[in-house]
């Protein structure tokens, strides 16, 4: 069970360490059910830390998001560690970043938080609209306890569970330096109802489904920026020479953007759901990514972000990879 005391103590000790730059955790947001990442540098800040069903953000994104500023001549680059709180899914992002050398093992200190599934923000805001003051939410047995201003409410877990959590198979961090509390039992079975449902439709219906979505994309690239696996210094999709896609917003460029991004995530997407969560236009991006997650898992017997020693999927092959599609 969540042990906030322990979390705070660990956090205090961690940020007091000389070799730690800061600790990234979650804190209550400015209103309603929102949370915000907390970059903690002082032990006093520990009181702001929370771990609750609201902590949906995958903080691993920040490991690769930090801009590397030019280091003035003579100065030494800051190589202190970043401490990071992770849920199961988040930890897979860290592992995958390690696999592809996006970060170095010595540069992170992973604080594992076994997780019982987080809330779907949209659903909970719809169920309890118009709440201004920050709301505290806790896990109960198979339910969420929502401490509204006018008293606690209990909601069955399935009703409000985030989409990514409905089928989670790795609620426990797969890698950590400190594990904060006991592991929980996984509940997912790895089947994706949304993907399946779409697969069963005919080609025409699938296209109209996606056309509708891709057309409404505003190409803000929030999905890419929030993705812990999209961290190229200079994304090919932004590049001018060669210019793979134009910046104009239309079905052609938008579709190619999404297909290219989805493809770049083959064997890398760890299903943290951040892209879909942050999309202001509500595109069901996980329904796209999970298709490939599923293919890679079922047909190529590979899952990313589990073993830091493993070979990246995209730079490996097996002589007996499927080839029934080849003429």
């Amino acid at each position: 069970m969540v042990d906030l005391e322990k979390l705070k103590n660990v956090a205090k000790d961690t940020v007091s360490r000389e070799d730690v730059k800061y600790l990234i955790g979650w804190r209550q947001g400015t209103y309603g059910f929102r949370v915000s990442p907390l970059f903690m540098t002082e032990p006093e800040d520990a009181d702001k830390l929370i771990f609750s069903p609201l902590c949906v953000n995958n903080l691993a994104t920040y490991l690769t998001l930090a801009e590397k500023l030019p280091v003035p001549r003579g100065a030494e680059p800051d190589t202190r560690k970043v401490a990071l709180m992770v849920k199961g899914c988040d930890s897979r992002a860290v592992v995958q970043q390690l696999i592809e050398k996006g970060i170095e093992r010595e540069s992170v200190l992973v604080i594992g938080c076994p997780c019982q599934g987080v809330l779907d923000l949209e659903k909970v805001e719809e169920k309890f609209p118009g709440i201004h003051s920050p709301v505290d939410v806790q896990w109960g047995d198979d339910k969420f306890i929502i401490n509204l201003p006018d008293g606690p409410q209990e909601v069955p877990r399935e009703e409000l569970l985030a989409k990514k959590c409905l089928n989670c198979r790795y609620p426990n961090p797969v890698m950590s330096d400190v594990m904060l509390w006991e592991e929980v039992e996984a509940w997912g079975n790895g089947e994706y109802a949304d993907v399946k449902e779409l697969e069963e439709k005919d080609s025409q219906a699938r296209w109209s489904f996606w056309q509708d979505k891709f057309e409404s994309c505003i190409r803000c690239y929030a999905c890419r920026n929030a993705c812990p696996m999209c961290y190229c210094e200079d994304c090919v999709l932004d590049r001018l020479n060669p210019q793979w896609i134009y910046r104009s917003n239309n079905i052609s460029e938008n579709t190619v953007f999404h297909l290219a991004r989805a493809f770049h995530l083959v064997g890398r997407c760890i299903e943290c759901g951040e892209c879909e969560r942050v999309c202001p236009m509500g595109l069901p991006l996980m329904t796209l990514n999970r298709k490939l997650v599923k293919e890679v898992r079922d047909k190529y017997d590979f899952e990313p972000g589990l073993d830091p020693e493993s070979k990246p999927f995209q730079s490996s092959y097996r002589p007996d990879d499927q080839e029934d599609f080849i003429l």
Binding site: A205, I251, E253, V256, Q322, E323
Partner: protein, 143 residues
């Protein structure tokens, strides 16, 4: 689809097997449809999967990637990478509703001039069935 429709296919061929196989088809004067337009690369492993989407975007009605049979790659492993990449690219395209007939991959060796002809005929036939590609073709309609 109208009778007139003549599909336009962009093909990426590896230099050592498939391109040579297509050359052999030529030296043997094997006739096949003219809808196929070949881009030569050194190895099927060179074919960036984004080329496929790009070709569709830029007006191709069908795409073909062809390389050496497994184990015969001039560079030993290139076609294995290609196979993995395109297997998944095909799944992806199919999933978003692109007709799978538009995207094909083949193994054609330097000695398989007649197989090359068969592949071309097959691919052209399939593209004809699929009809002109419009779904995310980049054209002025979108401007």
């Amino acid at each position: 689809m109208s009778e007139q429709y003549d599909p336009n296919i962009v093909a990426f061929l590896c230099n050592w097997c498939s391109y040579a196989g297509a050359d052999l088809a030529g030296t043997s004067r094997t006739h096949y449809p003219a809808n196929i337009n070949i881009i030569r690369v050194m190895c099927s492993g060179r074919v960036n999967p984004l080329f496929i989407i790009n070709a569709l975007q830029q007006g191709a009605d069908g795409v073909l990637v062809s390389g050496c049979h497994p184990g015969d790659c001039h560079y030993m492993e290139g076609n294995f990478y290609a196979r993995r990449r395109f297997g998944l690219m095909k799944e992806l395209l199919e999933y978003v509703g692109v007709d799978p007939k538009r995207f094909n991959m083949s193994w054609v060796s330097a000695s398989e001039g007649s197989k090359w002809k068969d592949v071309v005929e097959d691919v052209v036939e399939k593209a004809k069935e699929a009809g002109p590609f419009e779904q995310f073709r980049r054209n002025k309609i979108n401007w």
